[in-house]
Amino acid sequence: MSGNLNLTLKIWRQANRTSIGKFETYKVSNISTDASFLEMLDILNEELQRKNQEPVAFDHDCREGICGACGLVINGRPHGPIKGTTTCQLHMRHFKDGDTIVIEPWRAKAFPVIKDLIVDRSAFEKIQQAGGFVSINTGGVPDANAIPISKEIANIAMDAAACIGCGACVAACKNASAMLFVSAKVSHLAHLPQGKVERFERVEAMVKVMDELGFGSCTNTYACEAECPKEISVRHIAKMNREYFAAKLKARNKD
């Protein structure tokens, strides 16, 4: 059933990349429990504008949990308290009247804050550009049914491919490791015959760029899996590690 909430918000405000940020406290009242978390922030922003104050900047777009644009650390947890949910799909019915909610941006060296709750995730782009593809051009490909792929393998590939690139895995990790994000792409393509051709080059190139960009190491805490809104499994990290060792072994055998 719907009801209404009065809340205290402690929100990270930061003017730009170089300035020093701090928490500001705001009150919002009469928030419907049917509203989404971002709609609650919309309401706050409307009030701020009416008072001629600058609204809180946050990334968001589809509000259907699929574009990966949104991402807030809510009370210390990326995308908030509900498992398998993006910030935009989190609804206010999961909060109580009188709650204080702390809202921060992703915190990671590789994701500098641009403004308020918006971070720069272009490091993710660079990793994908290094090898997150099958090297084919448009045209001249075989018929789609020419390569049968077992349902089981297709399902595993799809599980990995469901990654939305939001960065919650990095935000959740005490080392700010990007292993879950990178492994999702590596595993997706390494499972499929189309991607197997370049599997070694791919994993080496992607891992190299990941390391260069300041992401930390994986120490198997599985915080990434716990906070991933698409519940991507750490098994894909294991798969990536196997791919990586195989690539290194192959390279050594060549020498």
Partner: protein, 637 residues
């Protein structure tokens, strides 16, 4: 006087594209690197076009407003993509896909374009599979299909309920490869604010850097717009929050004709509106109508919970009225029927503005596991938003604005009325007539980007002469100054209403009068009200913050300023089209059975509007010629 030439080649329908591809001029491989091409937008059409043009050797500059090209709203498409592979051996063919699409569009699309779309659709599936798109498969390892509205064959390929995501990530991976190779220069967090035309040719764009607020200028030999539709004119729609019409609208004001703006699609299965604070509407994929049954109580005002209404007191109105297509009638028909039931007082839920979509029978027949496998993520999303479990109680759904068939006018080569300005995907008007069938938007976006523009753009570049134009050219600084003035004007109003307040009001006017059912009186009211809102906006809006900063309020303000003009054109187009067709339903023009009544004698044309000044447009007509199908009253009974 502008004459609209479709440039559709002569000859047999089946041979047109092949002949045209042979007749078009080519740019030799060594010369391709001398040409710069700008692509705006990175959804299916923009990403696939950018990647493919770069593979051919052109220098591509690609722009998107998001922080990553992967976030374009194609990502949210759920259900699937059509192709006439006939893998199911159920009688499908390219001609049938063409026929279903033309008929589904209520005979308001160009035959040649639609046939080409159906023809290249098979290549799309091959291409995506080769990229590693994990489509759903059968136990034997071959691709699975499902059915969608408006078709009696199973031709829809899908990747769970995330087909758009997987197709976009495929195109994004191809784009990434070209960025890595240095053939595409990617400019994220940029919003196109104007087009630059030099000597009658589109030669560049002016954008705002959304991080720094700087106005930046980029030149090229041709400009490709793949910026999506204009559903957000209605405020509440299934579009992403930042999807907008600014790129196409500014191009329109520079001379590109806007075609069929009143052809908007209302999707029948969305989660109903629940409060004033609502920011957007969420779609539940049409694929759900494969297994879900739509019904309302037979008795008006029956407020019993769904499970207490016995079978005999339920009206499965789509199955009753349309026995051959049943729950899988096209979107416009399903939407209108839902509205009709609610208008008759049979709507369900607190607001009475919803009908049931019930899976009880399917769960009984196939088991919960099978349903979960097919629609698991959709059910989860529904529960997340509504707090109701669709395995236990039927979903409540209601129509919402989803897609816009209208868009910038383009010829067969996808070139607008401005030479060198090409328009792809939802941003153009070309393939869906007055109503788009499900799973055809993904098909069109990728057809345009992978398989059409690489040919037609080459032909344009090879057939024209280009003067040396860089972004230092005077035309660029003129446009830049105009944009600076526009931004300053927005910031200097300093009134009392927020941007969203005015946008919400516009949305209400549009939904009430230019929505699912329209009439002359309502449309005239809308035109007056939109004019007033526009005045209010420019005298009473409050845009906080400054120009030289990341300013999301300013971004939205610019978009809403455009909606306040485009909304009027939509109403004017709807008012002039004295017939009902597809998504454009004029209450004055309906059959005795309340179906859309077309007027082929007087309205079998594309309405392409030329901008003179705000509130004043000139209508141009491109007559539609049907040589291969005979327009008839659509019947899904």
């Amino acid at each position: 006087m502008i004459t609209l030439e479709s440039k559709a080649p002569a000859g047999k329908l089946q041979d047109k594209w092949t002949t045209h591809k042979f007749n078009m001029k080519l740019v030799n491989p060594a010369n391709k690197r001398k040409y710069d091409v700008i692509v705006v937008g990175t959804g299916l059409a923009g990403a696939s076009a950018s990647a493919t043009l770069a593979e051919l050797g052109y220098n591509v500059k690609t722009f998107c407003y998001q922080d990553s090209p992967r976030r374009a709203h194609s990502i949210a498409a759920q259900g699937g993509i059509n192709a006439a592979k006939n893998y199911q051996n159920d009688g499908d063919s390219i001609f049938r896909l063409f026929y279903d699409t033309i008929k589904g569009g209520d005979y308001r699309a160009r035959e040649a374009n639609v046939y080409r779309l159906a023809e290249v659709a098979n290549n799309i599936i091959d291409q995506c599979v080769a990229q590693g798109v994990p489509f759903a498969r059968e136990y034997g390892g071959l691709l699975d299909n499902r059915s969608f509205g408006g078709a009696q064959v199973s031709r829809t390929f899908y990747a769970r309920g995330q087909t758009g995501q997987q197709l976009l990530l495929g195109a994004y991976s191809a784009l990434n490869r070209q960025i890595g190779l240095g053939k595409v220069k990617m400019f994220p967090r940029r919003e196109m604010l104007d087009l630059v035309v030099v000597d009658g040719q589109a030669r560049g764009i002016v954008v705002r850097n959304l991080i720094t607020g700087e106005i930046e200028k980029y030149s090229a030999h041709a400009v490709v717009l793949a910026t999506g539709g204009y559903g957000n004119v209605y405020f509440l729609s299934t579009n992403a929050m930042n999807s907008n019409a600014t790129a196409v609208w500014r191009a329109h004001k520079k001379g590109a004709l806007f075609a069929n703006p009143c052809f908007t699609q209302i999707h029948p299965t969305c989660i109903p509106v629940h409060g004033e604070y609502q920011s957007k509407l969420t779609l539940m994929s049409e694929s759900l109508r494969n297994d879900g049954r739509v019904w309302v109580p037979k008795k008006a005002g029956d407020k019993r919970p769904a499970n207490q209404i016995p079978e005999a007191e339920r009206d499965y109105f789509l199955e009753r009225k349309y026995p051959s297509f049943g729950n899988l009638v096209p979107r416009d028909v399903a939407s209108r029927n839902a509205k009709e039931q609610c208008d008759a007082g049979k709507g369900v839920g607190d607001t009475g503005l919803a009908v049931y979509l019930d899976f009880a029978d399917a769960i009984k027949r196939l088991g919960r596991k099978a349903i979960d496998e097919k629609y698991g993520n959709l059910f989860q999303m529904y529960q997340m938003i509504t707090n109701e479990d669709p395995y236990e109680v039927p979903m409540r759904i209601y129509p919402a604005i989803h897609y816009t068939m209208g868009g910038l006018w383009v010829d067969y080569n996808l070139m607008s009325s401005i030479p060198g300005l090409f328009v792809l995907g939802e941003a153009n008007f070309s393939d869906h007539g007055a109503n788009r069938l499900g799973a055809s938007a993904l098909m069109q976006g990728l057809a345009d980007g992978y398989f059409v523009i690489p040919y037609t753009l080459g032909n344009y570049l090879a057939s024209n002469k280009f003067s040396q134009v860089s972004s230092d050219h005077a035309a660029f600084s003129d446009v830049e100054n105009g944009i600076r003035g526009f931004v300053e004007r927005l910031l200097s109003v300093k009134g009392n209403k927020t941007v969203d307040e005015i946008h919400r009001e516009l949305g209400k006017v549009m939904w009430s009068h230019v929505g699912m059912a329209r009439n002359a009186e309502g449309l005239k009211t809308a035109i007056t009200q939109i004019g007033k809102l526009r005045e209010e906006f420019w005298s009473n809006v409050n845009v906080t913050g400054s120009a030289g900063d990341l300013n999301q309020t300013l971004e939205r303000a610019g978009r809403v300023a455009d909606y306040l003009e485009l909304g009027e054109l939509m109403a004017r187009d709807a008012l002039h089209r004295n017939e009902s067709c597809g998504g454009h339903f004029r209450e004055e023009y309906q059959t005795e059975e309340n179906e859309a009544k077309r007027d082929d004698e007087n309205f079998s044309y594309v309405a392409a509007w030329e901008f003179n000044r705000v509130g004043d447009w000139t209508l141009h007509k491109e007559n539609l010629v049907f040589e291969n199908v005979k327009p008839s009253q659509r019947s899904y009974k």
